[in-house]
């Protein structure tokens, strides 16, 4: 497919790897923020193309993984109601709440439906005027415009049977929270290309300056990631800490202005608890007052719940890049995708799921295009 296959070329990947080896003079630790990048790195064995001095650590960029247990429990409560059709992205169905998951609620008779787009949930509400349709709005800035459009369409169509449970989170405050931690090892960041496609990268400028870290906005294919690493290393080796854009075919400095405007109209920024990371100020989205009638938490009065995480799950450390998934004692034994202890083992973008899928045996990376690496 155009704009995908050419960025998986094995020979070009090797050239980038050689370029990276030439500029590297000492150890560096770089975090890729987005779970999509984590999967590409583990799947294509990109980390194994890099010199030994370079450590890639995996960031918290998986919205499914960081959705707090309290919100999952609210979703479970709503999904079990007989009048509700509960619409969710497929990734959320196996994420464990404090006692069960959405898949179990569905098996017990709950009307839980997987949707590909928030706009599909609006259609479901139109087609089922006598049922209550609740959409579980999970995602980063990448997903927020589609969610905002669903709100806009539902309001415009006057749908009174549509609402959403909003779990949207924002990336820059989480990066700041990681950098502000006293034991932070991250020296450079690969920022998430699709988040920046929507939001642009101006908000990263003060972060790069304050913490003296290079931040390279990076795409998701092997050549994108390798070039992002190279840009980051050139800055680190040269003593610079700037915001740089690798993913120029999609990301403009100001982002997507109509999408940003849509987000601003529909949401307001609020503090949010992240699973594994705790409360982060100004890191979540909630429906603005103009759209409060579509807020499922208010509409159904789901109680404020207080729950404890499984003590055995170390996903908090994984999400902060302090522990590799394979270093967790439960990994692959008491915690598998079929019986996960935490969300990082469930989501298609969770670091534990990526390692379980590609790294249980001695590494067998998927072939980059050309199959001759």
């Amino acid at each position: 497919m155009k704009y995908l296959d050419e960025y998986r070329d094995a020979e070009a990947a090797r050239k980038f790897a050689r370029g990276i080896a030439r500029v590297t003079t000492r150890p560096w630790t770089i975090m890729e923020v987005c779970g999509g990048q984590t999967h590409a790195i583990v799947k294509f064995g990109i980390d194994e193309l890099l010199p030994r001095e370079i450590t890639l650590i995996h960031g918290p960029g998986c919205p499914v993984c960081v959705t707090p247990v309290e919100l999952i429990d609210k979703a479970l409560e709503l999904a079990a109601r007989p009048e509700v059709i509960f619409c969710s992205f497929g990734d959320m169905l196996r994420v464990p709440g404090s006692t069960t998951d959405l898949l179990a609620v569905k098996a017990a008779g709950g009307d839980v439906r997987i949707v590909y787009s928030p706009l599909d949930a609006v259609k479901t509400a139109e087609q089922n005027p006598h049922r209550e349709v609740v959409f579980f709005a999970v995602g980063f800035e990448t997903t927020a415009p589609a969610t905002a459009m669903a709100v806009h369409q539902a309001a415009r169509k006057g749908l009174r049977n549509f609402s959403m449970l909003v779990a949207h989170v924002l990336v820059p405050p989480a990066i700041e929270a990681l950098l502000g931690a006293p034991d932070c090892r991250v020296q450079g960041f690969l920022a998430a290309g699709h988040v920046c496609t929507v939001m642009g990268y101006e908000e990263y400028l003060p972060i790069a300056a304050k913490y003296s870290v290079p931040i390279v906005v990076t795409g998701f294919e092997p050549l994108d990631i390798l070039q992002g690493v190279l840009f980051c290393l050139r800055q680190l080796e040269g003593g610079r800490a700037e915001v740089q854009n690798q993913y120029t075919r999609s990301v403009r400095k100001e982002g997507n202005l109509p999408a940003r405007q849509l987000i601003r109209q529909v949401f307001r920024v609020v503090p949010r608890k992240w699973r594994g990371l705790g409360q982060i100020p100004q890191s979540g989205l909630r429906l603005s007052d103009a759209y409060r009638e579509l807020d499922a938490e208010l509409k159904f009065g789901v109680a404020e719940l207080r729950v404890e995480e499984s003590a055995e799950c170390l996903s908090g450390l994984v999400l902060q890049g302090k522990l590799k998934p394979t270093e967790c004692p439960a990994f692959g034994a008491r915690c598998t995708p079929e019986h996960p202890l935490g969300a990082t083992m469930v989501s298609s973008e969770g670091a534990c799921a990526a390692y379980y899928r590609y790294r249980r045996e001695p590494a067998q990376p998927a072939a980059i295009q050309g199959n001759d690496r």
């Binding site: 497919m1 155009k2 704009y3 995908l4 050419e6 960025y7 070009a12 050239k15 980038f16 050689r18 370029g19 030439r22 500029v23 987005c34 779970g35 999509g36 960029g61 998986c62 919205p63 499914v64 992205f89 990734d91 590909y116 787009s117 928030p118 706009l119 599909d120 999970v138 995602g139 980063f140 990448t142 997903t143 415009p145 589609a146 459009m149 806009h152 369409q153 998430a192 699709h194 988040v195 496609t197 929507v198 998701f220 050549l223 994108d224 070039q227 120029t248 075919r249 999609s250 990301v251 403009r252 997507n256 109509p258 999408a259 849509l262 989501s347 973008e349």
Partner: protein, 85 residues
């Protein structure tokens, strides 16, 4: 979750800008996506689509720059040439 893939717009419908829908071809598979936030996109353009929603139009000129960079990097690393920038 932030998975978004490029596809080619094969047709556009919809009464106004915010309701603009495109038929998108992903290497043979066709699916609809909202074009509300890419008002500049035309039939034949590639857009990057996430959750049924186009978030950007692919900039063709920029798309080639990775390869241009690689070519320059290789030239500069030839023995006898200056160090890469």
């Amino acid at each position: 979750m932030c998975l978004a893939i490029p596809g080619k717009i094969t047709s556009i419908s919809g009464e106004d800008e915010l309701m603009r829908i495109g038929k998108i071809d992903y290497g043979g598979i066709q699916k609809e996506a909202s074009l509300a936030c890419v008002p500049e996109a035309k039939v034949g353009d590639y857009v990057i689509v996430h959750a049924g929603f186009a978030i950007s139009r692919v900039d063709e000129e920029e798309a080639g720059k990775v390869f241009e960079y690689l070519r320059q990097m290789e030239e500069l690393s030839e023995p006898g040439s200056a160090a890469p920038p």
